[in-house]
C-alpha cells in the first residue's frame, strides 16, 4: 500500500531529525547536525535490508518515489519564497562576501575530486 511507503519515509525523516537535534545538543550547538543526512542513510539502510529479508511491494515503493519525484517542484517553490530582496539590497559587502565564498568553493571542487580519485586508484 502507498501509505506504507509514505510512512516509512516519514519515520526515517523524523528519526533522522531527532538524532540530528540530539547530536546538536550533545555538541553544544544550537542547530540540527546532519538530521536529513542521517534520515537518508536510514532510508537507504532500511530499503537495502528489505531487499534481502522481504521485498517492498511496488505500491509501497510508489509512496516513496512520488515524493522523490516531487523534489524539483518543491525546490521551485522553495526558490519562489526566498528573501531575494534582502540578498540583493543589503549592500555590496554582503553580496561580495557571498559571491567570493561561492567562487572559492566552486574552484576547490576539481582539486578535491582529484584527491579522492587519486587515492582510489592507488588503493
Amino acid at each position: 500500500m502507498v501509505i506504507y511507503g509514505v510512512a516509512l519515509l516519514s519515520f526515517c525523516m523524523l528519526a533522522g531529525v531527532f538524532a540530528g537535534d540530539v547530536l546538536g545538543e550533545l555538541l553544544g550547538v544550537q542547530a540540527n547536525v546532519g538530521g536529513v543526512g542521517i534520515a537518508m542513510l536510514l532510508l537507504i539502510a532500511l530499503s537495502n535490508l528489505s531487499h534481502h529479508r522481504f521485498r517492498l511491494s511496488p505500491m509501497t515503493e510508489g509512496g516513496v518515489n512520488f515524493w522523490s519525484a516531487m523534489y524539483i517542484p518543491i525546490v521551485v517553490a522553495m526558490a519562489a519564497q526566498q528573501d531575494v530582496v534582502a540578498a540583493v539590497s543589503s549592500g555590496w559587502m554582503a553580496i561580495i562576501a557571498g559571491v567570493a565564498a561561492v567562487a572559492a568553493s566552486f574552484a576547490m571542487i576539481p582539486v578535491l575530486a582529484r584527491f579522492g580519485r587519486g587515492g582510489r586508484d592507488a588503493a
Binding site: 546538536g24 557571498g98 576547490m108
Partner: protein, 254 residues
C-alpha cells in the same frame, strides 16, 4: 463578487493552489527551455531562476521576507517550499542511491565539509576586513554568514554581535544560496560535477542545503542524494566551528 469568491477559495486551499501554481510554472519553464535554449539550459534551471525572480518581485511588492508566499493567495508556496517538505523530498531522493558510491566518497566527502566551512568563513572574513571591519566578533559573524545564512546568525548570537552585523551575515548567506542555485548548472561541466563522487564533494564544499538542492536539481537530479547527504551536515559543523575555534583564530590574528 466572483473574484472575491475565487480569491477566498484559493486562499483557503493554499497548498492546493501552490500545486497548481508551481505546476504551471514548471510547465512554462520546460516549454521555454525547449523553445528558447533547445534544452541546453535545463527546464528545472529555468524554473528555479523564474522562481527566484518571482520571489524578488513578491518581496518588492509586499515588502515581506518570504517572496511570493507573502501574497495571501500564494501563501501555500511557502508551505510547499518550506523546510518540512523540502527535507522530506530530499530524504526521498535517497531511495535508490548507490550505497557503494556513498562509501567510496565517504572520507573525502567528510573532509570537504570541514574544508568548505573553513574556506567560506575565511573568504567572508577577508571581505569583511577589506570593508573596514576590525572587530573580531563582527568579522567572525560575517565570515560565518558566508558559510550559510543559518551559521551566520547562530554565530552572531553566540558572540553577541549587533543586529546590523547579523543582518549582513544573513544577506551574505542568502546571496550564496541564490548564486549556487543559479550558477551550478552553468559551471557544472567545467568543474567536473557529473558523478556521485564530485557531487558529494560539491555538497560538502557549498553546504547551503537550499542552494545545493536547487543547483543539483537543475544540473542532474540523479546527483541530488549525494550532494544533499554531505550538505546537510555542513550547517551543523559550521555552527560548531564558527563561534568556537574559528572565532578564537580570528581574535588571535586581529
Amino acid at each position: 463578487m466572483l473574484l472575491d469568491t475565487l480569491t477566498e477559495v484559493l486562499a483557503e486551499n493554499a497548498l492546493i493552489t501552490a500545486f497548481v501554481f508551481v505546476g504551471i510554472l514548471v510547465w512554462l519553464s520546460y516549454f521555454l527551455s525547449g523553445k528558447l535554449t533547445r534544452g541546453r539550459l535545463h527546464g528545472s534551471a529555468v524554473a528555479i531562476t523564474i522562481g527566484l525572480l518571482l520571489a524578488w518581485i513578491g518581496g518588492s511588492v509586499t515588502g515581506g521576507s518570504r517572496g511570493l508566499a507573502d501574497f495571501t493567495v500564494l501563501a501555500g508556496v511557502g508551505v510547499m517550499g518550506g523546510a518540512m517538505f523540502r527535507d522530506f523530498a530530499i530524504v526521498a531522493t535517497a531511495f535508490g542511491a548507490d550505497l557503494d558510491e556513498l562509501r567510496k566518497a565517504g572520507v573525502v566527502g567528510a573532509a570537504s565539509i570541514v574544508l568548505g566551512v573553513v574556506l567560506s568563513f575565511a573568504v567572508g572574513a577577508l571581505v569583511a576586513l577589506a570593508f573596514g571591519y576590525t572587530d573580531p566578533v563582527a568579522v567572525s559573524t560575517i565570515g560565518a554568514g558566508a558559510a550559510t545564512y543559518i551559521v551566520g546568525p547562530v554565530t552572531g548570537t553566540a558572540l553577541g554581535a549587533d543586529s546590523g552585523v547579523i543582518a549582513l551575515s544573513v544577506a551574505a548567506g542568502l546571496t550564496k544560496s541564490v548564486l549556487v542555485m543559479v550558477g551550478t548548472p552553468l559551471v557544472a561541466s567545467r568543474i567536473g560535477l557529473d558523478n556521485p563522487h564530485s557531487a558529494m564533494i560539491y555538497g560538502g564544499l557549498m553546504g547551503t542545503t537550499s542552494g545545493v538542492a536547487g543547483g543539483l536539481a537543475a544540473t542532474d537530479p540523479k546527483l541530488v542524494p549525494y550532494g544533499a547527504m554531505t550538505a546537510t551536515f555542513y550547517t551543523g559543523v559550521g555552527c560548531l566551528l564558527a563561534p568556537s575555534l574559528l572565532f578564537l583564530i580570528v581574535r588571535s590574528l586581529l
